[in-house]
């Protein structure tokens, strides 16, 4: 879709964040490739790893969230995005349904599931090389949640772009259509959950 005809519209503001994910969805944003130039004519980027701005400078039209919530900091960031963005987009399977981090939800079945998970990850796992024999407990580390939660179980999500990671095409197409008020859902052949 061409967005060149829209360049005279007032610029929208977008913000992005990565929660419990692998940052692959942000890499996929870069897969928009040279169309980023057309997109940047439509938007200014506020709080985002792409700009390295750590806080919102003003209210944004669109917030894009990668990853689910696995710790308290993720929840605070997500709530901050919901407060500061008119439209919130969950980008990728981790943001939509917890994704790979949520695998720990299904394998935890003891009375102290989080403890068991951390024990296996840092102490008892067969291939662990942890000379301290401790689970990291620095006060600077955010508190882990009992489970990994998809974004829409924490705040209201307006749109979700599926994929792991979503292709640059579906991200660009969705953003371009949202920014020009033409979004009517996804083309079926662009929808992939993997």
């Amino acid at each position: 879709m061409s967005v060149s005809a829209q360049t005279k519209l007032p610029k929208a503001r977008i913000a992005t964040a990565s929660l419990a994910g692998c940052f692959g969805c942000h890499m996929a944003i870069l897969d928009i490739d040279e169309r980023l130039i057309a997109l940047m004519k439509l938007v200014d980027v506020d709080r985002s790893p792409l700009t390295d701005k750590k806080r919102f400078t003003q209210r944004c039209d669109i917030g894009i969230i990668e990853g689910g919530c696995c710790n308290e900091e993720n929840v605070h960031v997500l709530q901050d995005f919901r407060r500061n963005c008119d439209v919130l987009i969950a980008l990728g399977q981790c943001a939509i349904m917890g994704g790979l981090p949520a695998m720990r939800n299904a394998i935890m079945h003891s009375d102290a599931p989080l403890l068991e998970c951390l024990d296996e990850a840092y102490i008892t796992g067969r291939y662990i090389r942890n000379k301290t024999h401790n689970v990291p407990n620095d006060p600077a580390l955010p508190l882990l949640l009992d489970e990994v939660y998809p974004c829409n179980q924490v705040v209201k999500i307006d749109y979700q772009i599926p994929g792991c990671a979503p292709g640059g095409d579906i991200i660009f197409d969705t953003l371009a259509k949202l920014l020009t008020g033409k979004f009517r859902g996804f083309e079926r052949d662009m929808i992939k959950f993997d």
Partner: protein, 242 residues
Amino acid sequence: MSGTKKETGFSFTIDGVEVTAYAGQTIMEAADEAGVYIPRLCDHEGLRHQGSCRVCTVKAGGRSVSACTQPAAPGQAVENETPHLNKMRRDLVEMLFHEGNHLCPICEASGKCELQAMAYRLDMTEATKFPYLEPCRALDASHPDIALDTNRCISCGRCIRASQDVDGKGIFGYVGRGIHRRVAVNGANLADTDAEVTDHAISKEVCPVGCIIRKRIGFVTPIGEREFDKGLIGHDIEEKRK
């Protein structure tokens, strides 16, 4: 086609399209022959009909019926591709995603999974309203050639019918009731049964998801060349009309 069938043929409509059926045919069988696709998960060609997943629910004469078990009747008006029915189908598929642990990015059936493909076809892309149940289910890798990841099982029962009716073995069966009903094997684990990788029940056509895994062939087809990369589920049936 036999002369007998021609003599007993009759017509009915699916979404206004006239379809010919023969005595004893279900709505879905007649629709398939006519190139009209009715979504389905528990039904599979060559296996007896079960009518349990309800994804194939259509309206026939104003009543909701499962197209895979309901006999076609002369003159009946069947509704199939309506927003209301597709919404109900999407809810059913969405609930299946929430009831198991369906992690498409790590599943070797991704791209050839009928549950995933049905979600694509039914536009399952909006924020969900159901909680993820995330059950703790067993992984059985005891057999040298076959593995079972029951996290992905949707209890369609296709393996049960294939094993009983085609293979004559009865390796799989249901245990439990209600939401706890599960597919189980007839033994302590799969290695204790007489399951063989050449069984029809183990073939890639029977299990619609990534529950029955044939070892050492995972991820063999590259992304972009997998079954549902090439077209929507049901396109092979719909192409008969073109």
